[in-house]
């Protein structure tokens, strides 16, 4: 499985939950905490992210940065195993 992760800018997240619906891994959830503007922000709750970019595409605030394992590094990892 390709590994990925997301970084969510909690300062500008408005907690609209559109990314939670869009995530195929169900890895995102609303935080119990609030940000400066009084919104509950979204956070990555467990390490299942594949870096599919779906959440970042639907994010109205452009608050999500997506990282994904490079295909070349995956191959070299398999070889070393």
């Amino acid at each position: 499985m390709i590994k990925g992760t997301v970084k969510i800018d909690a300062k500008i997240c408005k907690g609209c939950e559109l990314c939670i619906v869009a995530c195929p891994q169900n890895a995102l959830a609303l935080s119990p905490n609030f940000n400066d503007k009084g919104y509950r922000y979204v956070e990555l709750i467990y390490d299942a992210c594949t870096g599919c970019v779906n959440c970042a595409l639907v994010c109205p605030e452009a608050a999500i940065t997506v990282y994904r394992q490079a295909k070349s590094s995956k191959k070299s990892q398999l070889k070393s195993e």
Binding site: G51, C59, T65
Partner: protein, 258 residues
């Protein structure tokens, strides 16, 4: 975009998506879950990818997206209510080598600006018109717009839109497609990741056609308005799929014959 991230177990990750560079750092004023901001992001991503930041000129409307020029780091001009197409015509005629687009809502483009829009498309002005259709006046408090669906409850149609009183919803995209000046007319949406990808392709195509001086490109984006519709953002997606899309079917309405 080439930033790398090293995980604890030694896996190296590379950045595959980030906030478009052409967006300013100003946080959006839109309500949570609003489709406007997604369209802003897509437009600026395309501007980034085509590397046309220095020769793109946008025209902002009156409506929720009146502050579009705060967020888009390109040259922008504010137009009087409904007149964005007329202003864009002027800009394009004076500076024909620039890429000009208008960004308008349904109250702006389909109500007060119908005449300007229809005639701009009819003249085949070489601009891109981005039309956000959410079937309501969002900025002023959820009044009925020409694109409001029959039976839809708004603050000025509390018993639902009555077609005997207010007529039928205006399908301005189909109207525009009838005119010979229109080159590429399409209806897209931003309700899920795939729709956003399709919209991005459509915007890219429209800018490329404009570079080739083909004629007016018209992109309607069926969007949501959580505050105006009095729903949560997730409920608006369901409403879009069940109620809006049957009346406003997605897809290309007029494609160039090649």
């Amino acid at each position: 975009m080439n930033e790398k991230l090293l995980l604890d177990d030694g896996t190296e990750l590379e950045q595959v998506f980030c906030r478009p560079d052409t967006l300013t750092d100003v946080p959006y004023h839109y309500c949570p879950g609003c489709g406007h901001s997604v369209v802003h992001n897509v437009l600026m991503e395309v501007v980034d990818e085509l590397d046309i930041q220095d020769k793109t000129i946008g025209v902002a409307p009156v409506g929720c997206s009146v502050f579009a020029y705060h967020y888009m780091n390109i040259d922008m001009q504010e137009a009087a209510h409904g007149r964005a197409c007329a202003v864009a015509t002027g800009i394009k005629r004076v500076l024909p080598d620039k890429l000009v687009f208008t960004y308008q809502g349904d109250g702006d483009l389909a109500a007060i600006g119908t005449a300007e829009t229809i005639h701009t498309v009819n003249r085949g002005e070489n601009i891109l018109i981005v039309f956000i259709n959410n079937g309501i006046y969002g900025m002023t408090g959820g009044q009925m717009a020409p694109t409001t669906l029959p039976g839809m409850v708004t603050s000025t149609s509390p018993y639902g839109r009555d077609i005997h009183m207010s007529g039928y919803p205006l399908k301005i995209t189909e109207l525009a497609a009838q005119l010979p000046g229109a080159y590429y007319v399409t209806r897209q949406s931003v309700h899920n990741p795939n729709a956003v990808r399709k919209l991005k392709k459509a915007v890219t195509k429209a800018f490329e056609y404009q570079m080739q001086n083909k004629g007016t490109c018209f992109i309607e984006v069926v969007s949501n308005c959580p505050s105006g519709w009095k729903m949560t953002p997730v409920e608006t997606i369901k409403y879009l799929e069940e109620v809006m899309f049957p009346y406003y079917p997605l897809g290309d309405v007029k494609v160039p014959k090649e």
